[in-house]
């Protein structure tokens, strides 16, 4: 499965995503410069974490106008798999590829720590290989991950199974204390209606090896492989 990691000016999670795919998942991967106008040849695009355009104005607000984003949009609309992580999620939201908005953490501070994610929908390309009931231990590192949708949109997201991950405590309970940033409904990750575009604030690429504290992030990619193999049959 061939991955492309998009590099925006200021991106820094691109290095981690690249390393994770290449060395941990042992899959082919390229960096894609933000000025590229084509993303042809890739099976999955990663929009990485970390401060595109310095997070100025609003996180993701400026990056979404990069030339590459038109190609990303077309790719997504044609059903291509796209994963936005952290800043990548913010870019997808700003670009309108995912619903809602992400703004300042309710505690007004940047937060870096492990979180526990409850999977809400196992029938997506990002979750099919995850054992039911299994919590994923994956870290966050963001200052603006407070996910907002209005009540109507929330109901629609629920109805359509677009909520993918929610912040839980270590026992799997969805609690206010487990919510690191104030996100509505403890939402940590959502996908589009078509289920081919995922945005999540936690960083699966940082949870790829036990020596880093967890390798649960691999399960999301195992799902992608399973889905992709299936779709090729």
């Amino acid at each position: 499965m061939k991955f492309g990691v998009v590099v925006f000016p200021g991106s820094n999670g691109d290095i981690d995503a690249y390393h994770f795919i290449k060395d941990v998942l042992a899959q082919p991967v390229d960096h894609i410069w933000h000025q590229e106008e084509s993303v042809a040849g890739y099976d999955c695009l990663i929009l990485p974490g970390g401060s595109s355009y310095g997070d100025y104005l609003r996180c993701g607000a400026i990056a979404r106008f990069s030339p590459v984003m038109k190609a990303v949009k077309d790719f997504a609309l044609r059903g291509g798999l796209v994963v936005g992580i952290g800043n990548g999620f913010q870019i997808l939201v700003e670009a309108g590829l995912l619903p809602g908005a992400l703004y300042r953490n309710a505690n007004l501070q940047f937060r870096c720590r492990f979180t526990y994610l409850k999977v809400e929908n196992y029938h997506t390309p990002f979750t099919v290989a995850i054992e039911h009931g299994r919590l994923l231990k994956i870290p966050i590192a963001h200052g603006e991950g407070n996910y907002y949708v209005d009540e109507d949109t929330l109901q629609r997201l629920k109805a359509k199974g677009q909520i993918i991950f929610r912040y839980a405590d270590e026992q799997g309970e969805i609690t206010a204390a487990a919510n690191p940033d104030g996100s509505v409904f403890n939402i940590a990750g959502v996908c589009n209606e078509n289920k081919n575009v995922l945005g999540m604030m936690p960083h699966p690429e940082r949870a790829g090896e036990i020596i880093l504290g967890s390798d649960d992030g691999k399960m999301i990619f195992d799902s992608l492989f399973k889905h992709w193999e299936g779709s090729r049959l």
Binding site: P9, N12, G13, D16, H19, S51, G54, Y56, F110, R113
Partner: protein
């Protein structure tokens, strides 16, 4: 020129005389400004140079010692680690967020200037006490500034330290350390060589930042200066990230001859230092410098401290490629001059030469002073501590709870959870441990990093305190499984013009040097910050040590947390009646007095050897050094992470109870070991002549400490942990 002119720029009469001798004429205002910044203490180290020379700086692994932008040590496999610490104290006092942020940005530039990719940051903070709202404001601002810059640029902040003491009430310390990784062959130096090579300025535009600062309160200018209030530097991590990538790309492709960042003293410093190191001169055309504001005077452009700028020397053939690279990264770069062979720094503006001085005279020929020194009188009274008059502990539980809630000992999670310490996915041991451990991708190796300094000890005994600062940093690295390699340091003191302060300075350096020699950890660079005073009252002398260690095998790293119930707890090292300068004495008895604990460097080395061998051989499950709060606090800290208690049995053996539980005797480490490996550990300790005491067992939900048959401490781990974790957040509410 009138005396007011140079005096208001901070130059002494004899210094002005020296300048006229160097030039063979009177300097003009631009030249005078350039000398004033380059000959300031900050740039020239004129008061500290002689003393700093006594640091050991050589070693098998040292690839670059003091003198360049940062030190470099060899870690094998063709790789090297580049590191340095620097202060940003005064800017952080005025504007905590931007002051701290630009401190981080500045030290990151020092690292990539050398061709290294920054891989980790640490910070060492000293603040007044948290009951003061101004201190809380500064603390919050400084932490978010460090986070704001470091997180955005993607360099993980993996460790540091913070102490709160009223000695820092009006003069906080913000020291930032950065560590980079590079291939040995790719080391770049800040040298301008090759007549006819071009000088390129890249990055941010030049503004009036940092001009109307302390050195620039000239009398005639003061009216104008009042209208333009003093300019604070603001950081732009986005531009720095682009600059970092562009410069590393150029260095990797071997496209440049020399490179240096612009920091203090801005363009004056970068041009004169590069030319001086290269034995060359430079001609610079100020009309070509991209400015942020219109009508900037020559002296303003020459001494502006605008951030996120780099100066490069390139051959004419590479000029276009270099500009193209910066352009691709969205940055401005401009050829502003060329290298000459006459040793003169010649500055032009509007078609006229506005300054013409020997480059070397700016960078190297500042006067060197040997300030007077004298043993401080306070030492006569502070040393006297009569333990007889001090009541021993009545309720050890209460004391322990109080100690773990002291902001100096309490969990620093409030700080580091705001730092992206996981970026670059190499952080194997995160903040909260004795030292941070980072794996080196592509190898089995890892590096261990720690910053340390107990300034109370240094205040009470600069010589021993200096030794202890190095020893503690080393001990922290060792407890993580790292072999100590080298240090950088930031010497924060009061005014060197006061004999008592300069005595502190000399004694501290003497102690540090001895320790560095003993541990074979040379000093590869550092920074001196003098004049840390408010209303004539100096801070505690604070020599922050940044230690770098190496682990050959990342899998063999160690942390302080108890790992399993049923392990044997062993205390390595002897305990004495040493309460002087302790946190216990300050917190419970409100005294900063006495002799700090003694330190025997040979014993310390034997301890390091033992702990390292035990970790390498896989004998022990945890290791934690004893520092503030002594044995009881160290035990509690070992319990927290995995919420595993311990049952401990001690014997006073003639000691006071408070010394036994809370004294801060040096050269002690607490380890836990599986029962079947206990004998091996004890043998190892015996071989190295390190005293080892089996003091109890891990397990249960409580920390219980029995002393000579009487249960002195009996507290649920969760209760202790809660007090420890919530202390700083509560103090900030």
């Amino acid at each position: 020129m009138r005396p007011e002119d140079w005096r208001s720029l901070g130059l002494k009469d004899e210094e002005y005389q020296m300048i006229t001798e160097i030039l063979g004429r009177e300097p003009n205002y631009v030249e005078l400004s350039m000398y004033s910044v380059m000959w300031s203490e900050h740039c020239s180290y004129k008061n500290s140079k002689e003393v700093l020379r006594t640091f050991p700086t050589k070693g098998d692994r040292v690839l670059q010692g003091p003198g360049e932008n940062a030190g470099i040590i060899d870690i094998g496999d063709g790789l090297a680690v580049c590191f340095k610490i620097e202060s940003h104290n005064h800017p952080s006092a005025i504007e905590p967020y931007q002051g701290a942020a630009t401190g981080v940005g500045g030290i990151i530039r020092d690292i990539f200037t050398m061709g290294a990719r920054p891989i980790a940051s640490l910070n060492s903070l000293r603040l007044g006490t948290l009951d003061d709202p101004q201190v809380r404001y500064i603390f919050k601002g400084v932490v978010s500034g460090i986070a704001g810059y470091g997180n955005a640029i993607g360099v993980p902040t993996v460790g540091g330290e913070v102490y709160f003491d009223s000695s820092y009430q009006g003069n906080p310390l913000v020291n930032a350390m950065c560590v980079g990784l590079l291939e040995v062959e790719k080391i770049k130096l800040g040298r301008a060589t090759g007549k006819g090579n071009l000088v390129i300025l890249a990055g941010a535009r030049t503004g009036r930042d940092g001009i109307h600062g302390v050195t620039f309160a000239s009398e005639e200018l003061s009216e104008a200066a009042e209208e333009k209030s003093p300019e604070v530097q603001a950081g732009d991590p986005f531009t720095e990230k682009l600059l970092l990538e562009a410069c590393l790309e150029l260095i990797n492709n071997d496209d440049i001859v020399g490179i240096q960042d612009l920091g203090g003293a801005g363009l004056t410093c970068a041009t004169s230092e590069m030319a001086s190191r290269g034995g060359t001169g430079m001609e610079i055309e100020l009309d070509l410098v991209p400015c942020r504001e219109e009508g900037m005077a020559a002296y303003e452009i020459m001494i502006s401290e605008s951030q996120e700028r780099m100066l490069l020397v390139v051959t004419p053939e590479k000029e276009k490629k270099v500009h193209d690279t910066f352009k691709r990264w969205g940055l401005i770069s401009t050829t502003i001059g060329h290298v000459t062979d006459d040793g003169i720094l010649r500055i032009r503006q509007g078609g006229k030469v506005v300054a013409e001085v020997p480059a070397r005279s700016l960078a190297e020929d500042a006067p060197v002073y040997c300030p007077a020194y004298q043993e401080p009188t306070y030492l006569k009274t502070s040393a006297a501590l009569d333990l007889q008059t001090l009541p021993d502990v009545q309720d050890a539980n209460q004391v322990l709870l109080k100690l773990v809630s002291s902001p100096n000992i309490a969990s620093k999670e409030w700080i580091w959870q705001q730092y992206d310490y996981m970026a670059r996915t190499s952080t194997v041991v995160a903040p909260g441990a004795d030292a941070a451990v980072l794996r080196i991708r592509g190898t089995k190796k890892a590096i261990a990093l720690s910053t340390d300094c107990n300034s109370r000890y240094v205040f009470l005994d600069p010589y021993n305190g200096g030794k202890i600062a190095v020893a503690e940093a080393a001990r922290n690295v060792v407890c993580s499984g790292g072999e100590t390699l080298a240090i950088t340091n930031c010497l924060n003191f009061g005014s060197p013009e006061k004999p008592e302060i300069f005595w502190q300075f000399r004694e501290t350096v003497r102690g540090m040097s001895e320790a560095c020699s003993a541990f074979n950890t040379p000093v590869t660079g550092g920074n001196v910050s003098f004049y840390n005073e408010t209303d004539g009252e100096a801070i505690y002398p604070t020599p922050v040590v940044g230690m770098v260690g190496l682990l050959e095998d990342v899998e063999r790293h160690c942390t302080s947390a108890f790992k399993a119930a049923g392990d044997v707890v062993v205390l390595l090292g002897d305990t004495f009646d040493e309460l002087g300068g302790s946190e216990y004495l300050a917190l419970i008895h409100d005294k900063v007095q006495g002799q700090p604990p003694a330190i025997d460097l040979e014993k310390e080395k034997a301890l390091h050897k033992t702990v390292l061998a035990a970790i390498k051989q896989g004998l022990i499950n945890s290791a934690h050094d004893l520092s503030e709060g002594g044995l009881a606090v160290a035990l509690a800290e070992c319990c927290f992470t995995n919420e595993i208690g311990a049952e401990i049995f001690l014997s006073k053996q003639g000691l006071r109870l408070d010394s036994l539980l809370f004294g801060e005797t040096q050269s002690r480490v607490l380890v836990s070991v599986a029962a079947d490996k206990l004998n091996l550990l004890l043998e190892l300790a015996a071989q190295n002549l390190v005293p080892a005491y089996e003091i109890g067992q891990t397990g249960g939900a409580k920390l219980q400490i029995t002393v000579d048959g009487s249960l002195q401490i009996n507290l649920p781990v969760l209760e202790l942990k809660k007090a420890w974790r919530e202390a700083i957040p509560c103090a900030l509410k």
